[in-house]
């Protein structure tokens, strides 16, 4: 890839400090990533807190949106975990909205995608698994580890099954974080690459380049639509899987 101009597809993931902050030798600078985290929270707060501030029985547009999101996430939570899963509702809701809003803000040209950094997605994934472990053990004690012992398995097969279950449990945070990270990263790189093709072909000045330049442009447009779908879908998948994992902590016997 030509490094000239703004065509470098990796450039968009760079983290640039905006306000330097280095307490105790730690680099805690307020960066463009931090800025978009703050914007994400601000946007969600605008919808959910400001939107519901009227408390109207007949809702306006913003309140309708807030109610729609609330009912969507609530139905997902109760659908997977049942009624008592509502104790995790604020957690799942915050996760879903943060990931969704970060993904969507990332779709704005020239913006930064918070979820395209593995440290962010991994933090969320380990947070989810940490909550599952802590809640499961606090609530059910050793009974929680029955999760690794499937019922109705012949005795000689049990060690293998326990091993498989344990590996699958351990791989959960990895798959959870890599799925979101990979989707966001790859999608944005693909968009940038196809956008870069258009620029390169037009800048090349040849007639041939001028003629075929619309092709990558069309692809970039189609990819943009697809990326919006992925942005929503990955947030939804993240929330659903969070619910599924939390359900193990709520109801370990399966």
């Amino acid at each position: 890839m030509a490094a000239g101009g703004g065509i470098d597809p990796i450039h968009q993931f760079e983290i640039k400090p905006l306000i330097g902050l280095r307490p105790f030798g730690l680099d805690l600078s307020f960066t463009n990533a931090s800025l978009f985290m703050v914007l994400t929270v601000a946007a969600i707060t605008a919808i959910m807190v400001y939107g519901s501030s009227q408390r109207a029985t007949v809702p306006g547009r913003l309140q309708s949106l807030a109610e729609m999101i609330y009912e969507f996430v609530a139905s997902t939570v109760t659908g997977v975990m049942g009624k008592d899963g509502m104790r995790f509702f604020p957690f799942v809701f915050s996760l879903f909205m943060f990931v969704l809003m970060a993904n969507m803000l990332g779709m704005i040209p020239g913006s930064f995608t918070v979820t395209s950094h593995i440290v962010v997605t991994a933090a969320f994934a380990f947070l989810v698994i940490g909550v599952v472990l802590v809640y499961g053990i606090v609530k059910h004690g050793s009974h929680f580890f029955g999760l690794f012992v499937p019922s109705g398995v012949p005795g000689w097969l049990l060690p293998f099954m326990v091993l498989i279950e344990a590996v699958s449990f351990v791989s959960r945070p990895i798959s959870l974080s890599l799925r979101l990270f990979g989707n966001m990263l790859a999608g944005h790189i693909a968009l940038k690459v196809f956008g870069g093709f258009v620029v390169a072909l037009l800048a090349g000045g040849s007639v041939f380049g001028m003629v075929i330049a619309p092709l990558p442009l069309l692809l970039a447009i189609a990819l943009t639509a697809l990326e919006f779908l992925v942005a929503f879908l990955q947030a939804y998948v993240f929330a659903i899987l969070t619910c599924v994992y939390l359900n193990d902590a709520l109801h370990p016997g399966h």
């Binding site: 931090s34 109610e67 950094h117 962010v120």
Partner: protein, 198 residues
């Protein structure tokens, strides 16, 4: 959603996040690793985790204490308002039906009353006219009897006059013929005889 468990839960989140920041901080100093692929640049991990914990913690707090209870309350309020309105509507409909039923009953009652009143009026009218007719008939028959009696009296009187006249005439004729006046008794007997003969 019990609020207390939510705050305990939130504190747990904060502790977990702090652990992550601390863990990443140890891996953070990596000078000279220039031009690394940005998502794998460990020098940015501590800062990202710090700001993520801060912003996500704030978001969790805002959602769990303000936004979600409020939206939940709005939805519950609306559900109860709709249920109450439906109940009210059902009650009103039942009342309206009851009123219509009562009206129907009253109407039937009134119709029945009207019929009996009309019947009574007809009966009373018929009785009154009967009475009047009987009075008039009685009056007429009394007058008729009176008239008949008068006629009979007049006739009797007339017959008496005729007899007297006859005997006077007979006396006058006999006197003229015989020159001798018969006695009144003889004349009367002769007239009676003649009258009896026809």
């Amino acid at each position: 959603m019990p609020l207390r468990s939510a705050t305990v839960f939130g504190r747990g989140l904060a502790v977990t996040a702090a652990l992550f920041v601390a863990g990443a901080a140890q891996a953070a100093p990596q000078p000279g690793a220039k031009a690394a692929f940005p998502p794998f640049d460990a020098s940015t991990f501590a800062g990202q985790l710090f700001w993520l914990a801060l912003t996500f913690g704030l978001l969790y707090w805002l959602m769990s204490t303000i936004a979600l209870p409020r939206v939940g309350a709005i939805l519950a309020d609306r559900a109860s308002t709709i249920a109450r309105d439906l109940d009210n509507a059902a009650a009103m409909q039942a009342k309206a039906e009851e009123t219509a039923q009562a009206y129907e009953t009253a109407l039937t009652e009134a119709r029945k009353n009207a019929q009996s009143i009309a019947q009574a009026a007809r009966d009373a009218g018929a009785k009154a006219s009967d009475e009047r007719r009987r009075v008039v008939e009685a009056d007429l028959s009394a007058r008729l009897e009176q008239a008949e009696a008068q006629i009979a009296a007049t006739r009797t009187a007339a017959m008496t006059n005729v007899r007297d006249l006859g005997s006077d005439v007979a006396i006058a004729i006999v006197t003229k013929l015989t020159g001798q006046a018969p006695s009144a008794t003889e004349a009367n007997a002769a007239v009676d005889q003649a009258l009896a003969r026809g």
